[in-house]
Symmetry: C2
Subunit: 221 residues, 2 copies
DNA sequence: GCCGTTATGTGATTTTGTCACTGCAGAGCC
DNA sequence: GGCTCTGCAGTGACAAAATCACATAACGGC
């Protein structure tokens, strides 16, 4: 709750009449988990800022395979939306909530006004753009150059916060995160399990030796 | 030459005193072919707009492999620069001129001012952002899902304008465009040659039957 | 317990990527 | 003409990954 108030206060401070005017047009929504926020080809009408939760932005291949491009989480905005809003293109990917998510909905007109009026708002918007762009470039590098074993190891370590614990995800979901195929993930997990680094359960992976997984990642660079 | 004047006039019209002031701080540079415009890790100080020519933005792997992420050509700006400028991050990739290139150099401060002052300028900046973002997403999809034969075929057809002709590029360069390895390109070109679709020469590929190449692309979707 | 759904396991095959070379063409030089 | 250097291209062997086509296995209702 405080998150939303903070963010609103930051961009639309009480002591500025123009911004107060705009602030009134900003709405707040709560989206359930697994809800499609936008789909490929949709037109953009609003600027979305996630207050709490997580939106997964992913591309879908003709053959039904998926790659997660990036995630938009607490206090971040969806770049795609930003760019599409102004250039009036349609979404090139789809966004789906990973969990229950609260977001601010800023109408296109208000977004445009605020962008011209507030430097703080501009900074926020561009900072987000830059971050997402870096994410995407990283993703291209990973998929083009990276080995699956290393990337899987790293992903698991990241998800368990670098200490023993359980990561709940199906092989299919892990495959989407890495931009590979489910079978490849299944097989690789089996290899890690045989080496005692993890234990695989249905719908979850138990990380036993995060340190060793980190080493797998580092060995391949 | 007219290009530069047009672009300047569009964003900084003569009849606006504020913009005229900013306009004076915009400089113009000419870069030779093959010149590095920025490197990974560099800090951003200026906003670049290409007037004539082409800048290739690419990622470099640890093992020396390259992927071309996108190109910035006539009348476009480099998004990376945009975002880094405001969020003050460093470049996540490198940019190299493909050919002799003229560009406008807009200092960070001027960029910021113009962004607040001119809606036309904002539209331009964001339109570019959106385009590049789409390019990048497409690239992730291609590399993650696409088959090399199809992508190579498509690339050749694109480069020769869908009609018989010669595409001058080394196998290494083609590999970078597609995010794959040189050997793979060599082998695939050989296959196409055997089928009579192309003829390979040193440093160039002669496209003989673009229609058939297009079909290769379409068959795989 | 039975059934339908979803998740996972596996073998066979093809496509890519990597490594370690060889061969080859052209530029510049004597 | 013959050299050497250098960057480009060809190739075989092998490893990794993707794809296809299934077989199982676990769970959730009922």
């Amino acid at each position: 709750m405080s998150g939303a108030a903070d963010i609103l206060e930051q961009w639309f401070p009480q002591d500025d009449l123009v911004l107060q005017q705009l602030r009134r047009q900003v709405q707040r929504v709560q989206l359930p988990s697994g809800q499609a926020v936008f789909r490929r080809g949709d037109a953009c009408r609003n600027y979305l800022v996630v207050i709490r939760g997580s939106v997964r932005v992913q591309a879908l291949s003709a053959g039904g395979r998926e790659v997660v491009l990036y995630r938009v989480t607490d206090g971040q905005s969806c770049v795609i939306t930003t760019s599409c809003l102004i250039s009036e293109e349609s979404y090139p990917a789809e966004g789906i909530t990973d969990e229950e998510t609260d977001a601010l909905v800023i109408p296109q007109v208000v977004f445009n006004e605020a962008l011209g009026y507030s430097e703080a708002f501009r900074r926020f918007v561009f900072a987000n753009q830059g971050q997402r762009l870096s994410d995407l470039i990283q993703r291209v590098e990973d998929v083009a150059f990276g080995r699956v074993d290393a990337r899987l190891a790293k992903h698991l370590v990241d998800r368990c916060g670098n200490q023993p614990g359980s990561v709940s995800a199906t092989h299919q979901q892990l495959a989407s995160e890495l931009g590979t195929a489910r079978e490849v993930v299944s097989r690789q997990l089996k290899v890690f399990e045989k080496e005692g680094l993890i234990a695989v359960h249905r719908g979850a992976v138990e990380v036993i030796r995060p340190d060793a997984l980190t080493r797998v990642w580092e060995q391949v660079h």
